[in-house]
Symmetry: none
Subunit: 213 residues, 4 copies
Amino acid sequence: MEFARPLPGFLLQRYHGWKATTHAENSAWYRRLADEGQRPRAMVISCCDSRVHVTSIFGADQGEFFIHRNIANLVPVYEPDGQHHGTSAAVEYAVMALKVAHLIVLGHSSCGGVQGCLDMCEGRAPELEETGSFVGRWMDILRPGYEAVKGDADMPHALEREAVSVSLRNLMTFPFVREAVEAGKLGLHGLWVDIGSGELQNLDGKSGQFVPV
Amino acid sequence: MEFARPLPGFLLQRYHGWKATTHAENSAWYRRLADEGQRPRAMVISCCDSRVHVTSIFGADQGEFFIHRNIANLVPVYEPDGQHHGTSAAVEYAVMALKVAHLIVLGHSSCGGVQGCLDMCEGRAPELEETGSFVGRWMDILRPGYEAVKGDADMPHALEREAVSVSLRNLMTFPFVREAVEAGKLGLHGLWVDIGSGELQNLDGKSGQFVPV
Amino acid sequence: MEFARPLPGFLLQRYHGWKATTHAENSAWYRRLADEGQRPRAMVISCCDSRVHVTSIFGADQGEFFIHRNIANLVPVYEPDGQHHGTSAAVEYAVMALKVAHLIVLGHSSCGGVQGCLDMCEGRAPELEETGSFVGRWMDILRPGYEAVKGDADMPHALEREAVSVSLRNLMTFPFVREAVEAGKLGLHGLWVDIGSGELQNLDGKSGQFVPV
Amino acid sequence: MEFARPLPGFLLQRYHGWKATTHAENSAWYRRLADEGQRPRAMVISCCDSRVHVTSIFGADQGEFFIHRNIANLVPVYEPDGQHHGTSAAVEYAVMALKVAHLIVLGHSSCGGVQGCLDMCEGRAPELEETGSFVGRWMDILRPGYEAVKGDADMPHALEREAVSVSLRNLMTFPFVREAVEAGKLGLHGLWVDIGSGELQNLDGKSGQFVPV
């Protein structure tokens, strides 16, 4: 492990600040969370993007949100093939073990992953077509979504929102998700946030459209 | 999409609060991040656990951290087989496209995923052995790690820390990660935090041991 | 240049320590900052005082803050007369070239420059009245501020805070600052810190008063 | 003052961290510095650049360094004309009131101000020639320096180092600086640091050359 480097000082400094304030002020709660385990109310699937932190948008309370973050907040279809499926594992754990009441998929503007998918689908990114491109193969999940919004005047926003819809549809292919939803034990929610303006749009189930909250 | 539900009121309320405070106070910065794109200094791979938010521990600055969160903060080995690999895609994007300077893997105490792996490896969780168990198959990534710390007196902490070491070792199986590390363009860091006490431990490259910062 | 002396040993020793730790731990980031240039989020105008280091109060992250430090954290009015104006040049560079999102003026207690201005305005410092006194002529910028708080019971604190207000008002006399502020691309912030207690006060735009954060 | 905005949350968070750690751990010293005033050992004149913090390179001890930061770490010649001269005021205060033992001018690589001067002197930046350009007029201080190193193969580094030499020479035009230097009460030092490699070079008085420390 000789390649492992010590923690940079600026992070050490911030950690010590957090320990002396946030952790100290909530020590009893942290202790209880450690002893009794977590009991999050919702699972949020959002993007890795450094400009979109759900802990900031919805408050960073400890123990409240079970958060999975991946490129373009995508969920693949149900595929129990014995391979590693990190997103499916997170969903399974949240719904089956933690029994969260809400499952929220949060998309956003200026998404690099979605832009890459758009470039790939429109033939502008041959490198993403290669078998060895992890980003390209991951974005394949969104290809059907591209077909659905192809030609939309509001690209890439339309595809960013479609990524949320695709993920929600794919979530419904998971038997345990569908059962929980139909039993009224789990609510699925689709959101899209504009980084620049801070506007949040909510996927309306009836119209299938995203509308400002 | 009739199954999509409107956003719960308590989240709507928090969003409006965030929009009127955090976003308003940083509107110029959000605008710039939207127009010019992100330039995060570090990628952090941590757990989905609701009790461990790196945005809290290291500060929630917008644009600073590219964050991937999955069960037990695991990274699989390099496997360019054309399948969906969410974690590998996130690492590829962070290192190749964003050129982050630091890649930090953050583990933690009371990790449900690691406990599941431990139960599975010790024969106490047959359900996790099934092909259809996404959590079980995801935790297979940690099986070699179990063999390495088997019998350690400090279980499950030993396995939680090993999950961090396994991920760092697996990261080095990615050609583009190894190259960036050897070129001095990327630093790998391993951390483990104790939820109850808030103690942070740093993986020391020389000894391979975790030591309090 | 025979008057130039070698670096004192105690600084040489500290430099070597910094090089082997902070720079080594952040070498990839320093390399990137050198190759791609800086992209600071904020400009901070503070005093030269050795007891007030913004890099300490707000964290010393490399690349984050563009810092101008002068006596009493003063900004003169906009005066494009072709002369040397170091402070105006720093503000012009930060706003026009770097496009910072925040411009923070940080004042502090026990400010020697402000005390000098107070003594001068109250006739106790004839030497500062002389044409050849650079400190006196620099502190002339704060004279209108003295008139505004004259007789305040909380001197010299009132004048130290007024120095921050005067600088913010003067900043608004710069066309490019006013335009950026009105376009929502730049936020102006006024702060005052008490060295002894560490209390930080925030200038409230509505009331014009400084209130503890 | 309605244009003054509240302090952004991420800075508030960092301030609280600093207050609970650095300030708390040094409260007695801060109290004494507040009661008895500062007594810095050295004055440092460095650039505003966010990548070069002398508090980091030489340690961020409270009370040790009186720091003036401006574009390209320049010092104009002695000019007691009754106008505002921020840099001259800082030097006067440090030498006459604080009686610092060392006056250090720290230059650095990739300096935007020096690059601007170079472009201006070589006719590539007409906008900097305008009377209204504060950066251009400020960089006029370095014009004689350009003539001295014109044609040097190692541009812009040669001009960055020359900026340090010019400042030291100009410092000697201040009667009170020359007297303190000749009385052995003040030592002048010239430094240049390379951001990418972290190498520090020391101006050797005899040869007039910069040599790695």
